[in-house]
């Protein structure tokens, strides 16, 4: 997601290549490029300036080192500084209360309702009993939206269709959470502008009434320079405990949200990476900094794989692989699991070195469609024992799936190759790693 900034920094660093050491003169141009790149990435103007000044200072202080190139040295300095700007070490969410109350706040359209549900899903996956509360009484169908999402993730939603007082609703929701023995209560609120005094007072009242353990400021990662002002205004009223950075699966450079941390000194706790309910990641500043510098993010990828892949299923497949019994049925179920992990291109971008390589390549989410169609057109017997697929069967499968016989042949060949490869790597830990051997077209 930060490819654009990375490539800009790459370009900036190129200016330093072939030069022996960092001097005032050769660093000036690069630092200017870095600042431009940061501003272009929506990093707050002042913070970008501050940042590049620090980088420059540190770079100049280290100009005696001859063992590394100036470029490498600067990469390290920028990386270190960026990690610091992004918030130091990972911050967890406070769930000490009983119930633990999480209040969501933010501007209109930042993704509060979606992320209330994603958070609920996140805690539910940890085996906690969660209650959602719909306190957005203003936007048409906002309550309905939360109800639908709650149904999807099988989390109960507290709402009062006729009540127009969000403070009361929140208060009643706390009671309901206690009565229902819910460990966690997530309160969705209406979007509001930071300059809307009445609405800001309202959410201040909700806070005072329910006394939440966590107040999460939900912010769109595409926000521009105004992000710091809005964050500051919300923080002044709510003294929030953390930030959720949403829509990071877009191609925004996300710089503005990064400056929020600097301005309000509050950690970014989660990032939203897509519209699926699983697309919520814990924020890791160090990984993010590496990502900005184009170093990939394999750890997140593996974690995502682990959270989606059914362990039992994985063990079963592992066993089948050992016995060389991997079938198209297993393959199909693997595809379904990978699809749950989110957008393919985002996934691939997390692999070190791949992000830049696939920047301009189209990887469709439909990449699996043809494969699924072909498998769906096979009989159960064919799926289990692909060897019986002779010429006429292949013809039938091709017709049935709307593909042609070459595509069917290609898939069968790839499947066979994959089986071979999997046999050799079946000792590797973690089912998630096997995904890189899946064939996909385009």
């Amino acid at each position: 997601m930060f490819e654009s900034l990375s490539s800009k920094l790459d370009k900036a660093f190129k200016n330093l290549k072939g030069q022996g050491k960092i001097t005032e003169i050769n660093v000036a141009e690069t630092v200017k490029e870095i600042r431009k790149a940061l501003i272009d990435a929506d990093v707050n103007y002042k913070i970008a300036k501050q940042f590049t000044d620090t980088v420059k200072e540190k770079a100049l202080g280290q100009n005696v080192l001859t063992s590394v190139s100036p470029g490498q040295l600067l990469v390290k300095i920028v990386n270190d500084e960026l990690t610091e700007l992004l918030g130091g070490k990972t911050e967890n969410i406070n769930t000490s209360g009983n119930p633990s109350i999480i209040l969501m706040a933010g501007l209109q359209g930042s993704g509060k309702t979606t992320h209330s549900a994603k958070l609920a899903n996140y805690f539910k996956k940890q085996g906690k009993s969660v209650l959602l509360a719909a306190a957005d009484v203003y936007r048409p169908a906002a309550i309905e939206q939360l109800k639908v999402l709650g149904e999807q993730i099988e989390v109960p939603v507290y709402f009062e269709m006729e009540n127009k007082n969000p403070v009361e609703i929140a208060q009643n929701a706390v009671k309901a959470a206690k009565d229902g023995n819910h460990k966690i209560l997530i309160i969705d609120t209406a979007g509001r502008l930071s300059i809307d005094e009445e609405m800001m007072a309202e959410i201040g009242n909700i806070k005072a009434t329910v006394q939440p353990q966590e107040i999460l400021f939900v912010v769109d990662s595409m926000t521009g320079q105004d992000a710091v002002n809005t964050a500051k205004a919300f923080n002044d009223v709510l003294d929030f405990t953390g930030v959720i950075l949403t829509k990071l699966d877009g191609d925004t450079r996300g710089g503005a949200a990064l400056s929020i941390k600097t301005v309000v000194q509050k950690p970014i706790k989660f990032v939203g990476m897509g519209e699926k309910m699983e697309a919520l990641d814990v924020f890791h500043p160090d990984r993010m900094a590496q990502r900005i510098l184009g170093m990939g993010d394999i750890v997140t990828l593996v974690e995502r794989a682990q959270s989606v892949f059914d362990e039992e299923e994985a063990a079963k497949i592992q066993k089948k692989l050992l016995k060389d019994q991997f079938t198209f049925e297993d393959f199909y179920s693997q595809i379904q699991q990978i699809k749950k992990m989110g957008n393919l291109k985002d996934l691939m971008a997390m692999i070190p070195g791949v992000g830049k390589a696939i920047k301009d390549i189209d990887i469709s989410d439909d990449a699996f469609k043809g494969i699924e169609a072909i498998i769906n057109s096979m009989t159960p017997a064919e799926r289990r024992t692909p060897d019986i697929l002779n010429g006429s069967r292949r013809k039938r499968v091709a017709d049935g799936s709307g593909t042609d016989i070459q595509q069917v042949n290609q898939l069968l060949k790839q499947f066979e190759e994959m089986r071979k490869m999997m046999r050799t790597m079946n000792k590797m830990q973690g089912a998630g790693l096997s995904m890189k051997n899946l064939p996909f077209r385009r």
Partner: protein
């Protein structure tokens, strides 16, 4: 007649209020920056850069404005603050001017054959559905028969949300419910509008990030399908942009244009603290006219964007 009487007094005040923030921050700072100075020095240019960049004008457009201003000053010289302000105003106006759009008309006079079809697109959370609700209200007030198409069949309760706007405005909403094919909703909505002699048909679509190829392809298909009801439909592809969005708005404009030939922009949430400076850059770069601005959550909080009014409100 014409453009100026479109803005009722109240509306004008609201626009002024919204833009007041931009104005004060921009010109207060400039005045401070050049107070007691008789030439454009680096210090001033640095501060001007900060002001423009902080208003989301973007680094490239900012540098362009600064270059132009410097060239102007070198040629014309200037005496004081007011001259420099005037020059700056002119240079920014010129960027908006390079956008060859006519001042877009009111809600009364619709070009082309009936129904006038508007397809509304944009990323998640920019205010597409709300903008449609407000647009429907304006067209209705102008005496037009309006039909809405609930083409956001993906986001939870989006259809419900549009239906509520439909009820508020007393206009018909064509819907197939959630998780249905949006292209078929769009087709049926346009068909319904045509069969029922409606003047305007507005199609909602699900918010989507512009880097999702599959979803952008779907949008192209929705657009394509509508033209099968009637050649030349949709007449207007309206990209909704959130005023608080930073430089990513450029990429949005680019990708949505590639997928659906966007020919109008709506800039929402201008009543917030976001400066709306992104408009200058987009107008300069893409030559797509800004047609509407959103200045609040109320049903009447939508205005036709008017370049003259906009620039005047910025600089008066």
């Amino acid at each position: 007649m014409g453009i100026f009487n479109f803005f009722s007094k109240e509306k004008k005040e609201k626009l002024d209020q919204g833009l007041e923030k931009t104005k004060t921050s921009l010109f207060d700072k400039i005045s401070k920056a050049i107070a007691g100075k008789s030439s454009v020095d680096d210090d001033f240019l640095d501060q001007l850069e900060e002001i423009l960049v902080s208003s989301d004008v973007g680094i490239h457009t900012t540098l362009k404005i600064i270059d132009r201003l410097q060239a102007r000053v070198a040629k014309d010289k200037y005496v004081g603050t007011s001259e420099l302000n005037a020059m700056l105003k002119q240079e920014i106006a010129l960027l908006l001017d390079e956008n060859k759009n006519e001042n877009l008309s009111s809600f009364e006079n619709l070009p082309g054959q009936k129904p006038y079809v508007i397809m509304v697109v944009g990323v998640n959370g920019v205010g597409k559905t709300t903008t449609i609700g407000k647009l429907a209200n304006q067209f209705k007030k102008a005496g037009k028969k309006v039909v809405l198409g609930a083409g956001d069949t993906f986001r939870a309760a989006a259809v419900e949300q549009l239906k509520i706007w439909g009820t508020r405005n007393g206009v018909h909403v064509v819907s197939h419910g959630m998780n249905t094919d949006p292209a078929s909703v769009a087709f049926d909505a346009v068909q319904y509008a045509k069969d029922n002699d409606a003047d305007v048909c507005i199609i909602d679509t699900a918010g989507r990030l512009h880097n999702k190829i599959g979803l952008m392809d779907e949008l192209s298909k929705i657009k394509r399908v509508m033209s099968k009801v009637q050649e030349g439909t949709p007449h207007e592809v309206l990209l909704v942009l959130d005023a608080s969005t930073g430089q990513n708005a450029f990429e949005q404009a680019k990708q949505f244009t590639a997928a659906t030939e966007v020919n109008a922009l709506a800039l929402t949430k201008l009543d917030g603290t976001a400066k709306g400076g992104v408009v200058i850059g987009i107008a300069d770069q893409f030559k797509i006219p800004v047609k509407y601005i959103g200045v609040g959550e109320g049903i009447d909080d939508l205005q036709v964007f008017n370049k003259v009014e906009f620039v005047d409100s910025l600089f008066n």
